[in-house]
Amino acid sequence: MKPPPFDYHGPATLGEALDVLAEAGPDGKVLAGGQSLIPLLNMRLAAPAHIVDVNRVPGLDGIEAGPPGVRVGALARHAAVERSPEAAAALPLLRQALRLVAHPVIRNRGTVVGSLVHADPSAEMPAVLALLGGSVRLASRGGEREVPAAEFFTGPMESALRPGELAVSAFFPALPARSGTAFHEVARRHGDYAVAGVAAAVTLDEDLRVAAARVACVSVGPVPVVVDVTAACGPRPAASADWEAAAAAVRDRVEPEGDIHATADYRRHLTGVLAVRALRDAAAAAHGEEA
C-alpha cells in the first residue's frame, strides 16, 4: 500500500532537525534509512504526523573505530559499517552480525542506529549493543545524554528515546585482549528475522582459561536477553569448557513466546544449540588472537 499523508521536513543541520523534532513532540518520527519505518508506513501500521528526514544533515554518517571501540553515526548505513576494515578490526562482531541483517540491498540503505532505535527484539544490532554493554547518544534541543544499552531497550519495539530526541550515534565498546566473538542464528528463510539467534563474547585469561563469557539472545524475550555464563563455563581452558552447562543456563534465562513461526519450546531448544556453537566459535577466535 501507500504511506499515509504526513508533513515532510528535510532539515539541513542538526540544530534544525532538533528544532523540528521539539515542535513535533510525540507526533514526530525520524527518517534515516527507512528500511523499518517505510514498511510500517506502507502497511499503515504507523501514521506519524511529521516525518523528519535527517538524510541531509551533515556529520551524522561517521564511523570512528579505535582501541576503545567503534562509534557509529546515525546515518552510517549497515553496508558502510560492514565494509569498514577499521570497524571490523576493532570489533569483528560488528561484521559477523551485520552479515545476518536482512539482505545486502536492504543494508545499503538501513542504518545501524536506526536498527537500535527500532528496538526489534528479533534484530541483530540491539543484541550486539546489549552484549557489549554499549550505549546510544540521544540529542535534543535541551542537550545530549548517553543511555547505556541495559536502559535503552525497554520493550518490544520500545526504547528510552523520548519525544523530541534524535539518536545521533551509538558506541560499541571493544573487548579486552584475548577475546573472541561469534553470532549464529536460524531463520526460516535466509535474510528473514531469526527464529532464534545468539551472539557470544568469550575472553580468556593469560593461561587461556575462560575468564569471561557472555551471550545475547534474539527473538526470545521482549528485549535482547543477555546472560553471563562465566560461572557456568568454569575457569577451565577453553578446550574443556563446559559449553553445555552454559547453554543450560541460557535456556533457563530466556523467555520465548510461541507464534506461527515457532513454538516457545523450539525457540528455547534452538537458543541452547546456538549458544553452544557461538560460545565455542567465540572461544576459538579468542585463541586465534593469542596465537
Binding site: Y8, G34, P39, L41, N55, A102, H103, V105, I106, R109
Partner: protein
C-alpha cells in the same frame, strides 16, 4: 486534503527530471507515475520482493522503501538505463536472455539492477557469493537455477568485454 508538494530534481539514467511530489511519494511511484518510467516494477511494496530495486548513486536500493524527496538531487539508474548506447543489451541483460533467467519477467528489472551492481563490485563471484547477491529478490517462475547461471554467464561476458 491538500498535501504540500515538494519540487524534486532527479537524474535518472543520465537525464535530468523534475517533479512535484507529496512527501509520501515513494521513489518507485515517482519513477513510474511522475516520470513515466514503468520499467521499475512494484511487487510487495514493503521491501521483501526486490522487484522495485534501482541504483541510487550506484548502489542498489528498494525504491519502494525510499521517498522521492529523500532522493532529491541524487542519481538513479533504472532498468531502462542498463542497456548500452543504441539499445544494445548489457552483459547482464544478454546473460539473462541466454540462460533463460526469466519467464514472466515481473521480477527481472530488480534482478538486473541488483546483479549489475553486484558484478561491478565483485566481477568474479563464487557460487555462494552469487547466491547471497540474489537472495533478496523473489522470483516465482524460474526456481533461481537459471538466474544463478546467468549471474556467472554475465561475469564471463563482462570479462570477455574487458579483455
Amino acid at each position: 486534503m491538500n498535501e504540500t508538494r515538494h519540487r524534486v530534481t532527479l537524474t535518472v539514467n543520465g537525464v535530468l527530471h523534475e517533479a512535484e511530489v507529496p512527501g509520501r511519494r515513494l521513489l518507485s511511484d515517482c519513477l513510474r507515475h511522475d516520470l513515466g518510467l514503468t520499467g521499475t516494477h512494484v511487487g510487495c511494496e514493503h521491501g521483501v520482493c526486490g522487484a522495485c530495486t534501482v541504483l541510487l548513486d550506484g548502489e542498489p536500493v528498494r525504491s519502494c522503501l525510499t521517498f522521492a524527496v529523500t532522493a532529491d538531487g541524487h542519481e538513479i539508474t533504472t532498468v531502462e538505463g542498463l542497456a548500452r548506447g543504441g539499445g544494445e543489451p548489457s552483459p547482464v541483460q544478454r546473460a539473462f536472455t541466454e540462460c533463460h533467467a526469466l519467464q514472466c519477467g515481473f521480477c527481472t528489472p530488480g534482478f538486473l539492477c541488483t546483479v549489475t551492481a553486484f558484478l561491478r563490485d565483485n566481477p568474479a563471484p563464487s557460487e555462494e557469493e552469487a547466491l547471497e547477491a540474489v537472495a533478496g529478490n523473489l522470483c516465482r517462475c524460474t526456481g533461481y537455477q537459471n538466474i544463478l547461471k546467468a549471474v556467472h554467464r554475465a561475469a564471463e561476458l563482462q570479462a570477455e568485454e574487458d579483455r
